[in-house]
Symmetry: C2
Subunit: 612 residues, 2 copies
């Protein structure tokens, strides 16, 4: 299965993202096998095609393996969740522990090998594993380790009546977290070029192990939320709903009882961070998997910088939203379930607050899109697994909350009896759909924009070319230099700046298109027609304010569902229309994606902010 | 939003499958805007990048719209399935009818426009909408229309107590089916180059409308199967499980009662075909969506032929399997639920039959993979949305049956009490996982192989080159011709055959790699080392026999679950371990994918057969 060490990487794209064209033509790759090659070289497509037979197969082999393990884990989780006969919590924990140990072994082997054979690990994907991503994963990992310690404490307290696996699991999990963060710091950017089959299995195993740990945490958190919800529900007057608590408190006494209660409460406040940690780790590992055997140009990346100047307005508005959110969540959690009136007022307060916030967010994102649309800039369509995953995840996870929102809308439309507070649910649910739709568009457009500096050069050069009126000769000259240089020769720092090549091409070929689009999309086509406040630095400032505001708002909207403020439960109307069990299943399946969406959108917006 | 007529297409790949590299280099696209361009030309990547801003956005806009509609439909289906208060069947049917009418309008507009402006619709994706695919969709569509007629008959019979929507729906559905099949015959291969935003919305609307119609049929079928199952269950001794029938029989009398019973029985025998029709239509439309705005080389396709010579053995074995399956299904359906002994013997018969069949299939697929592995052939990695969808669907839908299989395995391992017939379930479930894993690998490798003729030319030329020992000069000469011609100039029929270019490249660059892989993968590397019976036509014959056998076996294994032979229900063990409700939910969610997998694998194997 192994393909040997230090060979030229099989030049294929990640699955399904291969370079276009199936004709038989191809050029020879450069003779030096390990030199970084220009990504647009067509040579990789066919050059080492034989080598890619096992590669493509390895991809299929490993992804199927990963899915089978994942499905098995999901089934075990389901079995535990529905109290299947003969499936205990220790079976589940044993399975997860075994998966983690296997991953630990693999990571140790990989780290050891990479330090022994440094020359094999030179290629890096500069887009993957950004600094702020590793920073945030470290933060979440620290909290995960604290959670692990609390769980160990909980196990010691109840050690009489808990099985040993409940102690082994948090210990393994903490070690796993430590080593994994170390691994991701050092190797998230790697483009693995050797032992590809084995690596693929290792990485995909890690991806799905983290996803299963995520699912496990989500399940624990959901059970906890559901229990809390059932306790509250009666106060809102929906007493006819089944309220059997799904309690997992051990059947013995803990030695210092106050400490034990504190620990078991503390655990549930830390779960949201653990959940984010697991999903972040699995996305980073997935990008590593997609990058195996890939060829990239290591000189292409523009360094992103975090600059905080000129975003006063966005930051102040965003921080206000954040403070308001924390206040609302605290009031909500205090009031909800105390009495019927208090619960209703808490719900109304939450809906009003969320409606206001989402309207502001939608307006901000719309303004951002509008600025992009009236501006003329090229879209970066280069291959970039990290970015592709980002946009897929945004749309995919938004679907989770769209499902819940449609449920609420349907419930409001179909319910026979409407307590007045339920009406606030209608604009709220519609806004959840619309706001995510708009925000996704804004993020999608932002992350596909080219870095600012480059394209300003283009604009300058462009005007010069237009003034000369001498487009065709330039076009044909760049046909040669751009075509051949870009396709065959390896590109290094000695190449001329990319901008001028780009320019002539646009001039010669896209004139008509531009006219059309100017009419249909923006209205004011070229930078000279932009309003003054939207030019150059001012435009950048506006966009950066929008990004900062949206970033803080998404963090804000992550907090309520993550910490137990769930009007979809407390509202009660959906449960009457759909029935308690079906609605609970819908919410429990969709909510984790909805929560993840907010954190992921915040992460993407942070990247957008740094890029603008 | 519209981008105008007849403009050069924005040269971008489908979402996330764009050509590698984000540097600023690019060549100019050829001056003629509508001439077919070589797919490996890097020009599209950056050439019309500005034009692709709305394109990329249109993709995001439309996919989000489609998902929102789909999620809303799923929610309505769920609401109806769980008898949500205030949601009736007519609400659901109204919604579906509205979606179909909207799609009808769009298709009419599109068909009208395409006949008025023929020059806009010249570009075709030769891989999409293959002849046999259109043939099978027509067959399924005819049965769907018959189903529609039966439903209209059913409505007339019970017209007193059925709402008008139950009559309007089948009429609209039949018209929709007719026009959609006409549309797919004429336009499945289209590569839409104008009005891209509007087309994207239209096509994605059609995709999700068909998916919702699929989900609706699946739900109807599942409800029917569940009712039948509940009736049978008691005879196996599992009487303690809740057996409330979810009956939807109208509350009035039908005028000729025998006819009405015949109709309502007939309907359920036709559902499986309707289900296949909807999913096939949506996959074809999805490929159309992915192709919007794409650039392909229209000369690249090798015509596939259906040849029936020399596949005697595979066909005979396959047909035997098919006959055996029909016999087994008939016996199963007669025996199951009659008495406990009869049910048990039916289950044992089914398991033994399925175990034998899947072992044969696994062995055949393994042999096929082995033949591919010891052979040396290049993999076709060209961009091909239809093929990419095929392999994604194979792995994705296989996950459905893996979930059920893991459930069975877990149930057997955890159950306290094991009636002896349940033990047959263990090898059966393991084989379901293993066989699909192997078969997917075989299909994946087959559909990524290059057409036979081309690569035999390569082999011949290769030997010549090796004998001359003169590789480097040839390599550098093809660097020029291959690199430049393949990247910049449009390729037509006047180009030299691709093979010779390919050869030099492989010679110069892959020598070392080959050695490595020969050692690790195949063992016998070059065609001269192949056993005599595996060379040339003989090898092709063996592979074709394998494909034919697997094709017929997959058709065979499609029949039992599609027509109500579901040991996952009748076995009873899983229901005891997981509980009735959870297991029913798992099976009802996973089974449609499992059934679709078989039909889809059969379709892919048919394609493989024609290609070999």
């Amino acid at each position: 299965m192994l393909e040997g060490l230090g060979l030229p990487a099989s030049p294929r794209g990640a699955a399904g993202a291969s370079v276009a064209g199936s004709s038989g033509l191809a050029a020879c790759p450069p003779p030096s096998p390990s030199a970084p090659r220009s990504p647009e070289s067509p040579a990789p497509r066919r050059g080492g095609v034989r080598a890619s037979v096992p590669q493509k197969l390895a991809e299929m082999l490993s992804s199927q393996y990963g899915l089978i393990v994942f499905v098995a884990g999901l089934l075990l989780l389901l079995a535990w969740a529905v109290h299947a006969a003969g499936v205990s919590k220790s079976d589940l924990l044993c399975f997860l522990t075994a998966l983690m140990l296997l991953q630990l072994l693999w990571m140790l082997w990989y780290v050891g090998r990479s330090s022994a054979h440094r020359r094999l690990f030179r290629l890096k994907d500069t887009h993957a594993g950004a600094g702020w991503l590793r920073g945030s994963i470290t933060l979440f990992a620290v909290i995960t380790i604290i959670l692990g310690c609390l769980k160990i404490g909980y196990f010691i307290g109840f050690s009489e009546c808990l099985s040993a696996t409940e102690g082994v699991f948090p210990v393994t999990h903490s070690v796993h977290t430590l080593l994994q963060v170390y691994f991701l710091w050092g190797h998230a950017k790697d483009i693995i070029q050797s032992f590809k089959t084995l690596e693929r299995f290792g990485v995909i195993h890690s991806v799905f192990t983290n996803l299963l740990l995520w699912a496990n945490s989500v399940l624990n958190e959901s059970k906890h939320q559901l229990n809390e919800h059932k306790e509250r529900l009666i106060t809102l007057g929906f007493g006819n709903i089944t309220t059997v608590l799904d309690d997992h408190t051990p059947q013995c006494n803990c030695t210092p009882p106050t400490l034990c209660t504190a620990i078991s409460h503390g655990i549930y406040y830390l779960y949201p961070f653990n959940i984010e940690y697991q999903i972040l780790a699995s996305t980073m590992l997935y990008v590593l998997w997609k990058n195996i055997g890939r060829k990239v140009d290591s000189h292409q990346h523009q360094k992103m910088q975090f600059k905080s100047d000129g975003v006063m307005m966005g930051a102040v508005l965003g921080l206000t939203a954040l403070a308001a959110t924390i206040a609302v969540v605290v009031v909500y959690l205090i009031h909800i379930g105390r009495s019927k009136t208090k619960s209703e007022s808490a719900l109304i307060m939450f809906y009003l607050y969320a409606i206001t916030l989402m309207m502001l967010m939608g307006a901000a994102a719309l303004a951002g899109i509008r600025i992009y649309r009236i501006d003329e800039k090229s879209l970066d369509e280069s291959k970039n697994p990290a970015r592709k995953l980002d946009s897929d995840l945004l749309v995919g996870t938004a679907s989770g909350s769209w499902l819940i929102s449609w449920g609420s809308i349907l419930a409001i439309l179909c319910a026979e009896d409407h307590p007045h507070y339920t009406w606030y649910n209608l604009p709220y649910s519609i806004l959840v759909i619309v706001e995510k739709y708009i925000q996704n568009l804004f993020i999608f457009e932002s992350i596909h924009r080219e870095p600012e500096e480059l394209s300003e050069d283009i604009q300058t050069l462009r005007v010069v070319t237009v003034c000369n009126g001498n487009t065709m000769p330039l076009a044909s000259s760049c046909l040669k230099s751009g075509g051949v240089a870009g396709d065959v020769a390896p590109r290094g720092k000695d190449m001329p700046p990319a901008a001028n090549v780009n320019v002539c091409m646009r001039e010669s070929c896209d004139k008509e298109e531009e006219k059309q689009e100017e009419n249909s999309w923006g209205g004011s086509p070229s930078p000279v027609h932009l309003p003054r406040f939207l030019q150059g630095n001012a435009k950048r400032k506006v966009l950066r304010n929008i990004a900062a505001f949206l970033f803080l708002c998404n963090i804000s909207l992550w907090i309520p569902p993550a910490f137990g403020c769930r009007p979809e439960y407390d509202n009660g109307l959906e449960e009457i229309v759909f029935g308690f069990e079906p609605w609970i299943i819908v919410v429990n399946l969709a909510m984790p994606f909805s929560i993840f969406y907010r954190m992921h959108a915040a992460a993407s917006l942070f990247e957008v902010y740094c890029k603008i």
